[in-house]
Amino acid sequence: MTPAKTAAATAVLLLLTACSAGGATPPPADTLVWATASPPSSLDIAHGFNSPSTLVQTAVLDTMVTLDERGRPAPHLATGWTQPDPASYLFTLRKGVRFTNGSPLTADDAAFSLRRHLDPKVASQAASYFTMVKKVEPVGDDQVKVTLSRPAPAFLAVSAIAWQIVPRKLAEPHPKDLGSPEVGTLGTGPYKVSRFSLTSGVLLERNEDYWGPKPALRRVEVKSIGDPETLRLAVRSGEIDGTADLNTRDARKWTGLPGVKTIFYPGNNISYLSLAVKNGPLADVHVRRAIAHAVNRKAISDLMTAGHGGPADALLPEPILTAVYGDAPPPVPVHAYDPAKAKEELAKSGHPDGFTLAAPYASGGDTGTVMQAVAADLAKIGITLKLEPAPSDQYAARMMEHDRLGVHYVALAYGTPEPIEVLPDMVSRASAEPQGFNFSGYGSAATDEKLDALVSATGEARTDQVTDLLKEIADQVPYVPLFHTDNAAALNEKYTASLHTWTMNLFAAIRPAGR
């Protein structure tokens, strides 16, 4: 090759390198690509009350009330509220707020946004949050009065989760399909929806006219990656900037990924075994107590949380226990791991020599792992769990139909620090019906009365009611608490985040590093 040709070739190469480097320029740090394990199903909480959907809803739709860092209700679209009487609230609306289409926010919009959850035509998935609401009405131009059927201190906290404000003009003609890709949604929040597809995800653009602090991220793209390992590789490669759908069990694999930081903070969740009390050997309380003593909760907790969580002693998430009892442990009996005691309890039961029980489980996710560990523990006292795998969707559908209930692993997450959000799910007779979360079927008129009293209780009375219910659960063992886990997020080091248990708007809490 002549010097001239060499020079020319070098020039071409340099040009190509420059071009390719230009093409591979990473997106600006104020654009975030976020991944969820499943796609958002609806941008309306009435029809998309699930984790990926609420992630987007909270970025787009404001609520009247929010939760502060300690989980206490705080003003948001409402600048404040008063209680004319213990069973009613008068909210004052923030002035000058507009929806992202430019139309002004009115008291009528705010009132309608709550009232629609009670409308059977809407069939809202959040309806159970507002069963205590009797009447919602606008008062003048800037106030909304909510009248409850009786005092319910948890109303403010659940409002922070589910009372999202949408324009009446858009929501009223669309009781069923508001928030769908076809109809979309409109809010006053820090972001507006630029694109929403059930397959390709969501694109959010910053609302430049937002009434509150302007979020640091200009644009957020939400994609769905179902396989955990694919998700991890996508974060590692930089294709995805962040996710909150990493399993704490896999923390070891995520910590130390180059260019990625992991963030752990207390999660408002509880994982437990549900024991169906209605028939079969599990109807015997001694069998249930034997199971509670036989299961090594510490070992299972260590396996499933990898140090980012811990064994659960009572059937409430840790943040809720803290909200009720402070730093003191709940005064509730604990079934310590003790195989000898488990055998003693089993000897007192109608099945002293043990028994065999079919145990269906979801073949995907953590369920199989936990059920295998539980089965190994129970085998030591003569109880044989015959594990029966089923596709996850089929298993979930059967669970919600309360079909073939027995021993099940359940993990639930909640949004508020209110025990009344959790306990009716566990032990009310209403939740023991199909579509309810009381998979044990445990409950009685007396238990329902205690739950009823808890709805209106405050202060020490509330603490006493919670203690009473937790003691009943510990004594009758319809459930065996297993563990609670931290919430976890993985974030490219280009970004930083201030996250806590009650973070309502995740994307507003993320900003480019150094800002």
Partner: protein
């Protein structure tokens, strides 16, 4: 080469027959404190997420991984050969009906049908194996039928008919030995197909309960451990691949050598 292939399949067979006795540990014994540990002197291939010894599970899992494919291969070979012979020898309406059924069965997407059957109807692994055997059989019927059509026109078959021998005797005593190379190769191919398909079903979490020592299930259960103990997933995947390749190659070799033998 053949010796290598026979040795591989022989070792797999020995593991299937004696695996539980060869295993250094109880394959179900959990040690949660030893979750996903890498290879060590105590655990040559490390442990899985529940702290179970991977080598012990591999040895014990050989039985589940190989027994069911052998059953499928036997079923499809016996039924496929018998029906193929009958169809090809008798022709006429028997042949027409059988071939339409075969066409229909071959047109169905096998793995999808299995997933639907096991997923919707439930019933566990036994149904999956039976369904797989039924779905594999039409292929064997078609191959044996086409060979039978050719063989029945040859002089030795004509002579047998002239002597007044019963059709059953002609088919199974005279035609079948001449089809043996293909039948043996088919049997080994069915074994390979079933091995891979059943491992695929286990990988999809369909059929076998969690915790059953089985190579396909081990790949699925342990694939999340690739960063912690890759052997837990790679070893069973490698064994499935090696045994499947050995069976396929041995089938080819057997076909070639038996065809030559028949030629002499």
């Amino acid at each position: 080469m053949r010796a290598v292939l026979v040795t591989i399949l022989g070792l797999a067979a020995v593991a299937a027959l004696t695996g539980p006795w060869l295993a250094p540990y109880d394959p179900a014994a959990q040690d949660l404190a030893l979750s996903a540990a890498g290879p060590s002197a105590a655990h040559w291939l490390g442990t899985d997420d529940l702290g179970r010894d991977v080598l012990s599970r591999l040895l014990t899992g050989a039985r589940s991984a190989l027994f069911w494919p052998v059953l499928v291969a036997l079923f499809t070979t016996v039924l496929g050969t018998a029906l193929g012979l009958v169809s090809g020898y008798h022709r006429g309406w028997v042949d027409a009906v059988l071939m339409r059924v075969v066409d229909l069965a071959i047109a169905m997407p096998g793995l999808l049908v299995l997933i639907v059957l096991v997923g919707v109807l439930g019933g566990g692994y036994g149904w999956a194996v039976l369904a797989m055997a039924v779905l594999f059989t039409p292929g064997d019927i078609r191959v044996v039928r086409s060979l039978t059509l050719a063989q029945r026109e040859l002089a030795y078959a004509e002579a047998a008919r002239t002597l007044g021998l019963r059709p059953g005797r002609i088919m199974f005593r005279h035609l079948l030995p001449n089809l043996a190379p293909t039948v043996v190769a088919n049997a080994l191919l069915s074994f390979t197909g079933a091995l891979v398909a059943l491992a695929g079903l286990s990988f999809l979490g369909i059929g076998l309960p969690a915790g059953t020592p089985d190579w396909g299930l081990m790949v699925e259960e342990n694939r999340q451990l690739l960063d912690l103990n890759p052997w837990a997933s790679i070893a069973p995947a490698a064994l499935i691949t090696v045994v499947a390749c050995a069976a396929t190659l041995l089938g080819d070799r057997a076909f070639e050598s038996m065809s030559k033998g028949a030629g002499r």
